[in-house]
Amino acid sequence: MQQRVQLAKALALKPALLLLDEPTTGLDVSVQALVLDTLKHLQRERKMTIVLVSHDLGVIRTLADRVMVMRHGRVVEQGLTDQILEDPQDAYTQQLVHAKL
């Protein structure tokens, strides 16, 4: 609930840039779908720029145009989302992508 209130607060100000730290972690699936759908709409309709931190490759695939993969505080790889997921260049990214169920 707190997470949703926070999100609503952030969106009420109609920001041009939205920073999201694991926005769907710990939400039940139905609320998660609602949050993702809301974000997708905002991105389209308000042309809002979103920077999102997530461990969930499904969320990343749904929301992100581009992805940066970080390890030990460094960016090891960046690219278009489908390229990162389907043709990862870095050894760490390859491990990460192949670990997905």
Partner: protein, 235 residues
């Protein structure tokens, strides 16, 4: 100037945990004009789909160039910045597969209208066009507002094709879009592709049953193993 000029395009994968490199295709060279349809042929596993993915930049080509004459000028798809490729995908490049990736709680109509909205159209107008596209692919009216996550494979396919072919594109990459389609849907797809070709859309396609679209084919590139040379079959 051709719409697309592919020069010595090569793709290899390096798989870290195997510590080895896998060659997919090498030194492909061909050109494509507006309104032209090139069929990519050859047995399974010679890299037909990989070639399409390299042109769409889902895969990063290992070497070579793919010069695309965009509305903004010439751009090398193999080396262009990610943001430029993202923009081209919204406006000029299309990729058609046989799989829909539905999102939870997003209706069929919305999914189909999205590419138009991304291109700058208002929702109302985009939804109107989406209705036309869904009916031309024969999706039952009562399913338009339903969520495709619950659809059968065949129904998802109709939504997928409508979504992939609704927005204007200058180059379409077709990755076996007719696989697992019923006869009526296959017919609608042929009609739509012929219409797009007439409008000057260029296409590169991989088809398991090329007889479905043989009247559209201008040229065929056969990939062979090892891919030293390519052979032009039709001209």
């Amino acid at each position: 100037m051709p719409l697309l000029q592919v020069e010595s395009l090569t793709k290899r994968f390096y798989i870290d945990h195997l510590q080895r490199e896998i060659e997919v295709f090498a030194s492909l060279t061909f050109t494509l004009e507006s309104g032209q349809f090139i069929l990519i042929g050859g047995p399974n596993g010679v890299g037909k789909s990989s070639l399409l993915r390299c042109l769409y930049r889902t895969y990063i080509p290992t070497s070579g160039r793919a010069l695309f004459t965009s509305t903004q000028g010439e751009i090398d798809l193999a080396h262009a910045a990610d943001v430029d490729i993202a923009l081209l995908r919204r406006e000029e490049l299309g990729f058609v597969t046989q799989f829909l990736r539905p999102r939870p709680r997003v209706s069929a109509l919305e999914l189909v209208a999205e590419p138009l909205v991304d291109g700058g159209m208002m929702w109302d107008e985009a939804i109107e066009q989406a209705k036309g596209m869904l009916s031309s692919f024969g999706l039952k009216h009562e399913l338009w507002s339903a969520y495709p996550t619950t659809f059968s494979g065949g129904e998802q396919q109709k939504v997928n094709l409508a979504r992939a072919l609704i927005a204007p594109r200058r180059l379409l990459l077709l990755d076996e879009p007719t696989a697992s389609l019923d006869a009526n849907t296959r017919q609608s797809l042929q009609t739509r592709l012929a219409e797009l070709k007439m409008q000057g859309v260029a296409m590169i396609g991989v088809f398991h049953h090329p007889e479905d679209i043989h009247h559209l084919i201008d040229d065929e590139i056969r990939l062979t193993v090892p891919q030293k040379d390519i052979e032009h079959v039709v001209d």
